[in-house]
């Protein structure tokens, strides 16, 4: 297929921790709000004159300093972010609004905080307690926490407008992004998809690290382009898969999977499109913040939600995705040392294989895994096993 017009530009900006659109936004007086977890609703980080930046550490090589501060048994993502912070990579941030969601990422942020690694004059960090269950009691708690540790600090320290009207505008902006991503992602359902999983991952990831206004125009152009884009005559892929697991902040991993013959038809991981790019439906009745929090609590698929209903719902969610996007198999991936996904990968892998009948590849991986030969081999073997099963039917 012919390259998408903006793909090269986006690939390039993903190489940077402080990318060009963010620089421009900062120069225009906007505040850069650092985020490390999907449990802080994204619209709250994009209020008024703020734009959210999901912390990443592209091009990570050595993470020796991060390892010194957090030891080698910690999640490589958390260590890589700390390493990047130690290198001064997040000096431009005005704050980090972090939930105490997983202990490892919390420790990363606490190290950034205590070691004073961001020297921006406004810089501050807040930690909020976010729900581990999806019910009404948890929702009330969630709303209180978001008000106290996200909205109020933004208003008090940066003078951000946190009114209901501002919240509604932020949701509208978020929904514009979400609808564009969903429309683009829907092309992955086609027999001969006109977008690769890798291209989609680049587009989707960019929406987490660039100001929304910039991304709306890019995505709109891309959607128009896709409407006319001609897919390849013959598909290079031998199987379709859903990619599920811990956060993927480097599309190179998706490229690796696709190069091994598995088309990534749907994504259900942190920084992917499901569930983070599903539409937030606001109604006129009821508190706006509560509605936003409800969406994130009910849609959230993070394994830290511990109640049994939610655990079952996670499996049903992946099953529904696999059906809708006509996947032949599921890849559960986990950044090594992640406790949540370590358990979920083992358990869900069994459930999806035994109860739902999907072929499942279950892998743990390093943070920077885009060139892992072992991973490539495992995906190739998985694709072959799917082909054999298909052939024997």
């Amino acid at each position: 297929m012919k390259d998408l017009a903006h793909i090269y530009e986006l690939e390039n900006l993903l190489h940077d921790t402080y990318n060009e659109p963010s620089r421009r936004a900062k120069e225009n007086g906007q505040y850069a709000i650092g985020s490390v977890c999907a449990m802080i609703p994204e619209p709250l980080l994009n209020l008024d004159n703020c734009f959210s930046v999901r912390l990443r550490a592209p091009g990570t090589g050595s993470m020796e300093m991060g390892t010194y501060y957090m030891t080698s048994i910690m999640c490589e993502c958390a260590r890589a972010l700390l390493e990047r912070a130690l290198e001064g990579g997040y000096g431009y941030l005005d704050c980090i609004l972090a939930p105490d969601a997983c202990a490892q990422m919390n420790r990363c942020v606490e190290n950034i905080d205590k070691l004073k690694l961001c020297d921006n004059e406004h810089f501050f960090v807040t930690y909020s307690d976010v729900p581990m269950k999806s019910d009404e009691t948890a929702l009330r708690h969630y709303v209180r926490q978001m008000r106290q540790y996200v909205l109020e600090p933004l208003a008090d320290r940066l003078g951000v407008d946190i009114s209901d009207a501002a919240l509604a505008r932020a949701v509208e902006k978020q929904n514009r992004i979400n609808s564009l991503i969903m429309e683009i992602g829907a092309y992955r359902k086609e027999d001969r998809p006109r977008i690769t999983g890798y291209e989609f991952a680049v587009l989707c990831l960019s929406t987490f690290v660039c100001p929304k206004e910039y991304m709306i125009s890019i995505l709109s152009d891309t959607l128009e382009e896709l409407k006319k884009r001609e897919p390849d005559e013959r598909s290079a892929y031998r199987a379709r898969v859903v990619m599920v697991g811990s956060e993927i902040d480097d599309p190179a991993l998706i490229r690796l999977v696709e190069e091994a013959g598995a088309y990534v038809a749907a994504d259900c991981y942190c920084l992917g499109s499901f569930p983070e790019r599903t539409m937030i439906n606001l109604t006129d009745d009821g508190d706006v913040l509560t509605q936003i929090c409800r969406h994130y609590m009910e849609q959230g698929q993070c394994p830290r939600f511990m109640n049994t209903d939610k655990i079952r719902q996670r499996h049903q969610y992946v099953d529904a995705l696999a059906r809708e996007y006509r996947a032949d198999g599921i890849i559960y991936e986990q950044i090594k040392f992640c406790d949540y996904w370590g358990y979920e990968r083992a358990y869900a892998g069994k459930v999806m294989r035994n109860d739902y009948g999907y072929p499942v590849l279950s892998v743990d991986r390093p943070y920077a895994s885009g060139s892992s030969g072992q991973l490539r081999t495992r995906v190739q073997a998985f694709v072959e096993s799917i082909e054999i099963k298909k052939g024997s039917r």
């Binding site: 010194y68 030891t71 009691t137 511990m306 109640n307 090594k336």
Partner: protein, 512 residues
């Protein structure tokens, strides 16, 4: 061996095999005391096994074999002790064993595979291992039980290879080997079907860590009884989370009421919590003694006993309060006589981080070998807030606070203030010059502070000695590895000679 502490090398007791070559001679009076109590423990164990349901359990559950090591556990945990220290250890730990035997007897009586007492089974509510039991104080007609404690937690303390089989089972299932071995072993027992299938309902909790929470999720699917997941806030030091914590406690109470048909009895709750408060008062007395040059209730005698009082007994068992008073009396006597915890107290220490379950006697080795007296440990330093016993609304908030301050999670969750900053406050309060920092390889919560601990210890002028371990998996870091780290620090950094050189390098790889 003689009457005085450190009169003979203790290293001779280790011969590289399971049992020690001989029992320790502590002088006539102390040896007689120890021997009589040793017989008493055998009496307790024999009495336990003579119950038919318990005997059946010995053959039904693989993990029960670990309890053959109980007498050895006492030998390990009283090594080198004399006088008050010996008596404190015996009195405290023996009650824990007796209480465990009672609890396990209830469990096996109800167990369909052993006693099959269906009526009793309907009265049992199964609680998560690391979860406070105090909610059950308001249900006097029901019985609290934790199947994980006897199957996993104490097994790992009795024998260093006590739960390896179950750890392997969890890893065969697909759980990565870098997670905390405790929830992994608990899951392994569930996967192997080795928990008694008992209880009217169960309450689980986001207890210690992310791994523990996740293990519970899978375990809930293995249990055939209704299960409530109690979500306790992570940022437990913040005022902003207390309302949610209290609401969740009320949700848990409502769940138990719904499942069992019982009603929460506030009078019963208040009565037992009064006892719990009195137990806390005793603990504070012991802490005060530990702040003097003559601490008396320290190390395992404090920590293992306190876990039982704080989490399991929870004010429901009068024997614990009686024993608290007895311990205070003993401690005051020892303090009056200016008795020391080691032949020579060279360093006053706090142990921080999660202690190794397979080497709970590490603290005793520290004091016998190097004169490092571990006064208090991180897991014991939980809440000492008194629970309101008159106002229901306040009591719920206090109870919720207590649940937030569960052992381990009160420090492993909650952030820098409770995980790091509090340590230096305790160091000052207990006049400590050394921190023995347990580096539990599966504990991400504490590992995330590694560099901050190092830097801040230097700033506070505290000796920080790391002791790396695998909590319940001695294959990843053996007891000897833990000792070696201390030996190196003491010789190379402090340039000290051991008090008992025979303990510096001992072979206990095959010991219980």
């Amino acid at each position: 061996m003689g009457k005085s502490m450190g009169s003979e090398p203790l290293g001779k007791l280790y011969n590289g095999r399971k049992a020690k070559r001989r029992r320790e001679w502590r002088g006539l009076k102390d040896t007689w005391y120890d021997y009589v109590h040793w017989l008493g423990i055998w009496g307790t164990l024999i009495g336990f096994v003579l119950r038919p349901a318990n005997l059946k359990a010995f053959f039904r559950y693989r993990w029960m074999v670990n309890y053959l090591a109980v007498p050895d556990f006492f030998d390990r945990h009283t090594e080198g002790m004399r006088g008050t220290q010996l008596r404190v250890a015996r009195v405290a730990l023996e009650l824990v064993v007796r209480d465990m035997c009672k609890s396990m007897s209830v469990m096996f009586r109800a167990d369909p595979a052993c006693g099959n007492d269906k009526k009793l089974n309907e009265k049992l509510v199964v609680f998560d291992e690391n979860m406070m039991s105090q909610i059950m104080n308001g249900f006097p007609n029901l019985k609290w039980v934790s199947v994980e404690v006897p199957a996993v937690y104490t097994c790992a303390m009795m024998a260093q290879d006590g739960v390896l089989y179950y750890l392997d089972a969890a890893q065969e299932y697909g759980i990565p080997n870098d997670v905390c071995p405790m929830p992994a072993a608990e899951l392994g027992v569930a996967l192997k079907g080795d928990y008694p299938r008992i209880g009217r309902c169960a309450v689980q909790c986001n207890t210690t860590c992310d791994g523990s929470l996740m293990g519970n999720g899978i375990m809930a699917s293995c249990m055939d009884i209704p299960t409530f997941q109690l979500a306790v806030p992570i940022r437990h030091d913040e005022d902003s989370v207390q309302q949610y914590a209290a609401e969740e406690i009320l949700n848990a109470i409502a769940f138990i009421e719904e499942q069992t048909g019982e009603t929460f009895d506030w009078n019963a709750f208040f009565e037992t919590m009064k006892r719990f408060n009195k137990e806390t008062e005793q603990l504070l007395e012991w802490y005060d003694i530990s702040r003097t040059p003559y601490p008396q209730i320290t190390g395992n005698s404090l920590s293992l006993y306190r876990y039982a009082v704080y989490m399991a007994a929870g004010g429901r068992v009068d024997d614990f309060l009686k024993t608290d008073h007895k311990l205070t009396k003993l401690a005051m006597k020892g303090y009056g006589r200016k008795e020391l915890m080691a032949k020579q107290v060279r360093h006053r220490a706090i142990t921080w981080g999660v202690q190794s379950a397979y080497y709970t006697a590490f603290g005793i080795w520290l004091q016998n070998c190097w004169g490092i007296v571990p006064l208090v440990d991180m897991l014991t330093l939980c809440s000492t807030r008194m629970i309101d016993t008159e106002d229901k609304d306040k009591a719920v908030y206090d109870l919720a606070y207590l649940y937030e301050k569960m052992i381990m999670r009160s420090r492993s969750n909650g952030g820098y203030e409770v995980g790091v900053a509090d340590l230096w406050r305790f160091c000052e309060s207990f006049h400590v010059d050394m921190v023995i920092m347990y580096a539990h390889m599966g504990c991400k919560s504490m590992s995330g502070y590694h560099g901050l601990f190092e830097e801040e210890a230097r700033a506070h002028g505290i000796h920080l000695v790391w002791a790396t371990h695998g909590l319940m998996d001695a294959r990843t870091a053996s007891r000897k590895d833990m000792r070696t780290e201390v030996n190196r620090y003491m010789r190379t950094v402090l340039r000290e000679e051991p008090l008992d050189a025979s303990l510096e390098d001992i072979d206990d790889e095959l010991a219980w």
